[in-house]
């Protein structure tokens, strides 16, 4: 009786692209692209070597941050950022709730659904920074333009997630409330609201976190906040102050992240 020959080595079969020809074509395509793309990157090595010394100074500044000499500017920027974050989140949530309800297919008539969904699409398609450029041009420099930018961005984010959430509610509960002869308002209040409220609160806290991060960026185009201070510090080559600002941003983001996850756990 002959023993069957088993191979002594084994190669893991490919997981995603199973056809060999496709695999080779894909690899060649990627290679060609990389050659083309890397060819278009022009690097001025002389500038880089000069810059590395500056980079070293920046890292030194990061390790020995200077909080004191620009503290006036930093604290003003921080107050602007934090107030902007809170007010824009509150206003954004207040506006996004009706839009979110309007964009839920199971609650709103078709025409309202399309209107609200297009508002959401517009708000999501444009980046904060581009909106900020326009709002600064319209409303002048300062945190008010930043507040409007963040509120607008919050609407797109929250209304979409809220609408998706409302569309996924347990229909049986809504049916039960409807069977009691409840009006539309009572339906929203007693059937939909209790189901989506925990998630809405969680998303609002998450958005608060995002808004703070964004508030550090839109200052670059003049919309107030800590970003403006950071931009000035880098323009003046004051890397120790810039390091201090970055550390403050990282610290606040970490606190916000832990705080919001703790609060969400507490609320659910």
């Amino acid at each position: 009786m002959s023993t069957q020959e088993y191979p002594t080595t084994w190669r893991r079969p490919p997981q995603i692209v199973t056809d060999r020809r496709w695999r080779i074509a894909l690899q060649l395509g990627i290679l060609a692209y990389l050659v083309l793309a890397l060819g278009s990157v022009e690097v001025d090595w002389q500038r880089v070597s000069v810059g590395l010394e500056r980079g070293q100074r920046f890292i030194m500044g990061f390790l020995q941050p200077d909080f004191t000499s620009r503290w006036g500017d930093i604290s003003r920027g921080l107050v602007e950022s934090l107030t902007m974050t809170l007010t824009s989140t509150v206003v954004g949530v207040l506006i996004s709730v009706p839009i979110g309800i309007g964009a839920a297919r199971n609650l709103a008539p078709a025409w309202l659904y399309y209107v609200c969904r297009s508002i959401i699409a517009v708000s999501r398609a444009l980046q904060e920074i581009i909106i900020a450029i326009f709002l600064v041009a319209m409303f002048g420099f300062g945190p008010f333009a930043g507040f409007l930018t963040l509120s607008f961005a919050t609407i797109g984010f929250l209304a979409k997630l809220l609408a998706d959430d409302i569309e996924e509610i347990d229909e049986a509960q809504a049916e039960a409330i409807r069977a009691t002869g409840a009006s539309w308002w009572q339906l929203v209040n007693y059937a939909v609201q209790p189901q989506v409220m925990p998630r809405l609160i969680g998303l609002s806290l998450y958005r608060l976190d995002i808004n703070f991060r964004e508030s550090a960026v839109i200052g670059i185009v003049g919309a107030g906040g800590i970003g403006a201070t950071l931009n000035t510090a880098i323009d003046r080559y004051e890397y120790d102050s810039a390091g201090a600002i970055l550390l403050i941003i990282i610290g606040i983001v970490m606190i916000a992240e832990y705080g919001s996850s703790y609060l969400r756990k507490f609320l659910q």
């Binding site: 893991r12 444009l126 983001v253």
Partner: protein
Amino acid sequence: MTEISHYSQTWAHRTPRARLALWTGWVALVALFLWCWQLMTENTIWAFVWDAPRQAADIGSRMMPPRLSYLPELMVPLWDTLNIATLGTIAGVIMAVPVAFLAARNTTPSARFLRPVALFIIVASRSINSLIWALLLVAIIGPGILAGIVAIALRSIGFVGKLLYEAIEETDAKQIEAIEATGASATQVLNYGIVPQIMPAFWGISVFRWDINIRESTILGLVGAGGIGLKLQASLNVLAWPQVTVILLLILGTVVVSEWVSAKVRRAII
């Protein structure tokens, strides 16, 4: 004889105590909001704010009609933007993979020392926006595409690292144990036990991040890091609003296409 207990005739969702706490919370939130509003608008010049609708109409009328003849000039910056996003994603993913393995509880070589370091790298990279990274890198290595690529790469580490280490922690322990039982070495366990399990998640995350990076790389030029944002900044500086319209439309189109591609690819993988 049994007493008939009297129940309240109206139904309430919460006890009076809970209601009181809820109302206190809401009042506190409103007070905080008003206080923040006061602080924020202290230096606002309201004349500019009331003037805004007129300004909006003015800018709107200047932006129309878009100057479509500007479009051919934008093709090279667009190619640069795509390269910044793609090369930045590749570099970021390459750096994120070891960080993710160090940060995952089941693969980290030392939970006490290396894991906190890896987690700090992830948090630091995530909390600083790519525009701020670009601002720093333009100051350090000079304006150009390279600064943009490095900025995108540094920002991607945190995002990819976080999602990937969560995927590694969620791998099925039984499969890993089965590989271990064959007497495999640590690298073989990694290669045959863990990698096949996280591969779909890895490609999904990378493509998702690429999509986000396309979106972010369109604006990096505002601080001098190359790409189509450079043209946007130049047009804004000379108040060439018809060109701004064209650039914005192009950015919008690119973002929509990249989103479509990434959704398609992720659906195919997962």
